[in-house]
């Protein structure tokens, strides 16, 4: 029996639609696997220990998929509509899974349960997709062929995902945008299927409006991801960015990887949680050992609260005044659980008073009789003119004027190895301001060889005792920190003044060699 042209056209349309449906399966399964890979990558970035994290995430995801497949049987009527709804749900939950996890990390105390819950939720939803699809197509195709075809397309999707994810998506988009882009794909598949499955769908208009809403949400998320981190910025750091914010003064970025995290201000590393204790012990304790008293302590800069953590070890500290220009920085030290854990809630101690002002302006306006027993000066390196002014004779003269008799100060002074002239320029400048300086250096692996300038307003001896129980410093180690080998030894440098800012020039020239 010859088929009429109409019938032939109808059959062609039916095959075209079936092919389209298989393309949809391919897309859906690709997305599903990308969510899984994304969650796994994120978990290993922020929690470290990638083998455990990856296998945990995969395990949870796979079993959640099984659960989803199981649940699919309870869906009975209106399968096509359910499918569209399911796509929208996957688009939202899957698409926003990684950004939500990034935002949670560092903000909530217990990250793991949230991570696993999100993974389970996405897995469950994705698990419903294929069985539901099979049931929708059952009416159109021979069941044996159907299962074989859908499954092979599904595996093809997995292959596609595992190739795209490391080669294209993460390098081009970063984790956050990858996940949102997949959400967008799921949303588009949802919308597309309102045409593919039109015959089985009631109230098409309303459904399409919902699809459009979800697509818009994912697109907005993608646009908003720029607000969280910029692509260019992500390329700057070796580890993924988990917190990024432009405050009124600087860009604050936290990256995490291999079980530790790092704080960057305007792209410059401030500390790494692995070895910051070496830096902060070296900055704080020699000054405390040199100072005659410890009652009234000043911290300039150091809004991360880590120096204050060391300061609060001393029971005879009555009062700590911390002056940091950026309220966003001290807020982060108090509000981000990961940072607060590291500084042991030091900024919440009732002995600590926070001042948000420019340190130079604050010092200049201090009543002349104000005196501090110890002053810890912890500014970012002098890589621009606004920071450079905090290393001038003007600044150190003011600082000296507010040291109590027998008082001591310690100034972070960049690396005597990598920026030798800069380091000695700081010491020379402090001397020009009438301070007696004893420079010291410590090894901080994530920074390199690092230097501080310990100083008093009168000549003084190298101190001999630090409190017991420190992780890095001990009495035996202490004298060695003040010894400078030939490659660190003093070099002549000009005095850094407000009207020459010579230090910024030294610093630029010296660090440029390492860029």
């Amino acid at each position: 029996m010859a088929r009429g042209p109409r019938e032939a056209a109808g059959a062609r349309a039916a095959t075209a639609r079936t092919t389209a449906l298989f393309v949809a399966v391919l897309l859906v399964s690709t997305c599903g696997l990308v969510y899984e890979l994304g969650a796994g990558a994120l978990a290993s970035y922020v929690l470290g220990d990638s083998v455990t994290q990856f296998s945990l995430v995969i395990g949870i995801y796979l079993s959640a998929m099984g659960l989803g497949a199981h649940f699919s049987r309870y869906l009975e009527r209106g399968l096509a509509r359910r499918f569209v709804d399911l796509e929208l749900a996957v688009a939202l939950v899957g698409g926003f899974s990684v950004p939500v996890l990034f935002l949670c990390f560092g903000r909530v105390a217990h990250f793991r349960p949230i991570l696993y819950a999100v993974v389970a939720l996405v897995g469950t939803l994705v698990g419903v997709e294929i069985p539901l699809f099979l049931r929708i197509l059952r009416r159109r195709l021979d069941f044996k062929d159907l299962v074989a075809n859908v499954l092979s397309v599904d595996y093809l999707g997995a292959l596609l995902a595992s190739l795209l994810f490391p080669l294209l998506l993460v390098p081009r988009l970063g984790l956050v945008r990858t996940s949102l882009a997949m959400g967008l794909v799921n949303g588009l598949v949802g919308l597309w299927s309102t045409w593919l499955l039109a015959e089985e769908l009631p109230a098409l208009g309303w459904l399409r409006v919902r699809c459009a809403g979800v697509i818009l949400a994912c697109a907005a998320g993608l646009a908003g991801a720029n607000w969280m981190t910029s692509l260019a910025e992500e390329a700057l750091f070796s580890d993924p960015i988990i917190y990024s914010r432009q405050s009124a003064y600087q860009r604050i970025v936290i990256t995490a990887g291999r079980g530790s995290f790092q704080l960057f201000l305007d792209g410059n590393l401030q500390f790494s949680s692995v070895d910051e204790y070496r830096y902060h012990e070296g900055l704080v304790h020699p000054a405390f050992a040199a100072a005659a008293r410890h009652e009234n302590v000043l911290v300039l800069g150091g809004g991360d609260g880590l120096a204050v953590r060391e300061i609060l070890r001393y029971p005879d500290v009555h009062r700590v005044t911390l002056v940091d220009i950026d309220p966003a920085m001290t807020a982060l030290a108090v509000d981000l659980p990961m940072v607060r854990e590291l500084n042991r809630s030091s900024l919440l101690d009732r002995r600590v008073r926070l001042v948000h002002e420019d340190a130079l302006a604050w010092l200049a306006d201090l009543p002349p009789e104000a005196r501090f027993d110890v002053a810890i000066v912890d500014f970012p390196d002098p890589n621009n003119f606004s920071l450079g002014k905090l290393y001038t004779t003007r600044f150190y003269r003011l600082l000296r004027a507010h040291l109590a008799p027998g008082g001591a100060t310690a100034v972070q002074s960049t690396s005597p190895l990598l920026a030798r002239t800069s380091f000695w320029c700081i010491a020379t400048t402090m001397e020009a301001a009438g301070l007696f300086v004893r420079p010291l250096h410590v090894a901080v692996p994530s920074f390199g060889e690092w230097g501080f300038a310990l100083a008093e307003a009168q000549p003084f001896e190298i101190p001999g005792h630090v409190p017991p129980g420190l992780r890095f410093l001990s009495d035996a180690l202490l004298p060695g920190l003040f010894v400078f080998g030939p490659d660190l030894a003093r070099v002549p440098a000009e005095v850094n003044r407000l009207d020459n800012q010579i230090l910024v020039q030294y610093y630029e020239a010296e660090w440029r060699r390492f860029e």
Binding site: A361, T392, R497, L498, D499, N500, Q501, V504
Partner: protein, 539 residues
């Protein structure tokens, strides 16, 4: 001429480079407010219109100083230092300071005119004394003067916008050819030579105050050339060197290479140091308004503002002065033994129409200036070398802008807020025409000029501006045109007529704080001498 088309406006005031860059671009929406200040223009106009009120009361004072600018205030300062306290200063404006006045808002104080004082050389005794008195310097035990780090201009001092980014310093090195660089080096060598030169009497070729400089024939002869001729004679013809040298003429004298005497053009570069290098300078957020406040504080209540002097009539001994109190409408006749006329030369001839003054005043050409203070809520985008104190745009008719908060540790408003003080000198050859142009500008025109000029370097400048105010300076800056500096009129101008003494920066043919102070002190010392005081001159 009442309205400018946008293109005419940009072309006329900022030159072809800016006009072309903005051509076709949309005119700015100007989503900020502001005003043309300098309302007291009208008081000056009263005088020019020949306003002659009749005095109702008569008073007496030993010394009457007319004009509360740097010159008048310095005359008072000199008298006070000698213990003569019986003087009054009458200033037409509501605020003292004249062309060194300052303004202030919630963010920062800012200048309206003069904004810096180069660190004095040891021969400028009176400037040194003032710096010591203001706490801007200290004398070390070895006699050396050390300047306060906080008041010296902080680094970075200058940057230049050229092509598409900022570079450090003022000379346009970026993209310069070897020939350009060679011309620059040759110019600097000449400047160094003049800086180191001493005449038979041990005087510098060029000094500040200028009276300390040489009057040897070969130096004086430079005055007969224009700066343009001098460059030509040196074979310095490149666009960049000419721009660089003309920038100095526009900045210090409000005039062009052709309009500046070579003596004055070289004076700018070779008077401040022995090495010909850039000098250190003192500056404050409010510019030289800082000096004005210091001097005004010393004068105390003897400084009266809002008082217009309309007539000075010499008597057999002393003089009779008519002063109109603008706020109350009261008109006063002041009988005084000595007068210091510390106002621009042209204005002096109007209130004191002595035949010599009237005959010679027309030689004192003063240029017009437009100054805008833009209050910014945040810093604009900027590419290249970071913000400096003085920020200059290559190829623009403007002089760029100075950042008021550069010198302060603290400012009001949100982080990043500041005030940019933008300067434009109308270098038009005919001063009367420049003056007409200036007064044809509306606030909108002026704001458009500022935005168009800065937008090349800061694409988002418009959205950063919170408020923009404008000051028009009609006859603001004496022009040292060729031949004028060593003309007999100029050299005679300082001589007293009877008991009327003269002070003002115009008398040096150079508009500088030190020259204004010099003439104020000189006038003060002339009076001290007539009072029979033995004075050790501070000059």
């Amino acid at each position: 001429m009442t309205r400018f088309t946008r293109r005419d406006l940009l072309l006329a005031f900022l030159g072809p480079a800016v006009a072309t860059a903005c051509h076709g671009g949309k005119p700015p929406a100007l989503a900020f407010e502001g005003a043309i200040l300098g309302a007291n223009d009208s008081r000056g106009h009263l005088l020019r219109a020949g306003f002659k009120p009749t005095p109702q009361v008569q008073t007496r004072t030993a010394v009457l100083i007319i004009g509360g600018g740097i010159a008048g205030l310095s005359a008072a300062w000199r008298l006070s230092r000698a213990g003569v306290e019986d003087y009054r200063i009458l200033e037409l404006d509501a605020e003292p300071g004249g062309t060194s006045r300052a303004g202030s808002n919630a963010v920062t104080p800012f200048p309206w005119g003069a904004h810096y004082l180069p660190c004095p050389q040891p021969h400028a005794r009176s400037v040194e004394l003032l710096a010591l008195e203001m706490g801007a310097a200290e004398r070390r035990s070895d006699g050396q003067l050390v300047f306060d780090e906080a008041q010296l201009c902080r680094a970075p001092q200058e940057r230049l916008f050229i092509a598409d980014r900022w570079y450090e310093g003022l000379y346009p090195r970026a993209g310069a050819t070897l020939r350009d660089l060679d011309e620059f080096a040759r110019f600097q060598a000449e400047v160094r030579r003049f800086s180191a030169l001493r005449d038979g009497q041990g005087r510098r070729a060029f000094a500040v105050p200028m009276e300390h400089g040489s009057d040897d024939a070969d130096i004086v002869a430079l005055d007969r050339l224009s700066m343009s001729d001098w460059l030509e004679a040196q074979g310095l013809r490149g666009e960049r060197i000419r721009w660089f040298v003309e920038y100095g003429c526009r900045d210090d004298y409000g005039t062009t290479l052709q309009g500046t005497s070579a003596w004055a053009g070289l004076h700018y570069h070779a008077s401040r140091t022995d090495h010909g290098g850039p000098e250190d300078l003192l500056t404050w957020p409010e510019g030289n308004g800082h000096i004005v406040s210091h001097l005004a504080r010393r004068a105390g209540r003897r400084l009266e503002t809002g008082v217009v002097v309309t007539e000075v009539r010499p008597l057999e001994r002393g003089a009779e002065v008519v002063a109109f109190h603008a706020d109350t409408g009261r008109c006063e006749r002041v009988l005084t033994d000595h007068v210091v006329l510390a106002i621009p030369r042209v204005a002096a001839a109007r209130v004191f129409p002595h035949p010599r003054l009237v005959a010679e005043a027309s030689g004192f050409h003063a240029g017009a200036w437009l100054v805008a203070n833009a209050t910014l809520r945040r810093r604009p985008l900027s590419r290249g070398f970071p913000e400096a104190w003085d920020n200059v745009l290559y190829g623009s008719g403007s002089l760029g802008y100075v950042v008021a908060t550069h010198q302060s540790d603290r400012h009001g408003g949100p982080p990043g807020a500041t005030v940019f003080t933008w300067y434009l000198s109308l270098t038009h050859a005919d001063p009367a025409e420049a003056h007409r142009w200036l007064y044809a500008l509306s606030w909108r025109d002026a704001a458009e000029l500022v935005v168009a000029d800065l937008r090349r370097a800061h694409p988002d400048i418009e959205s950063c501006i919170e408020r923009l105010d404008v000051w028009r300076w009609g006859h603001a800056m004496i022009r040292p045109r060729p031949g004028f500096v060593f003309s007999p009129e100029r050299r005679r101008a300082s001589q007293a007529l009877g008991d009327v003494h003269f002070a003002h920066t115009d008398l040096s043919a150079l508009s500088l704080m030190e020259e204004a102070q010099y003439h104020g002190i000189r006038a003060g010392e002339e009076i001290l001498a007539r009072l029979g005081r033995q004075v050790d001159s501070l000059l």
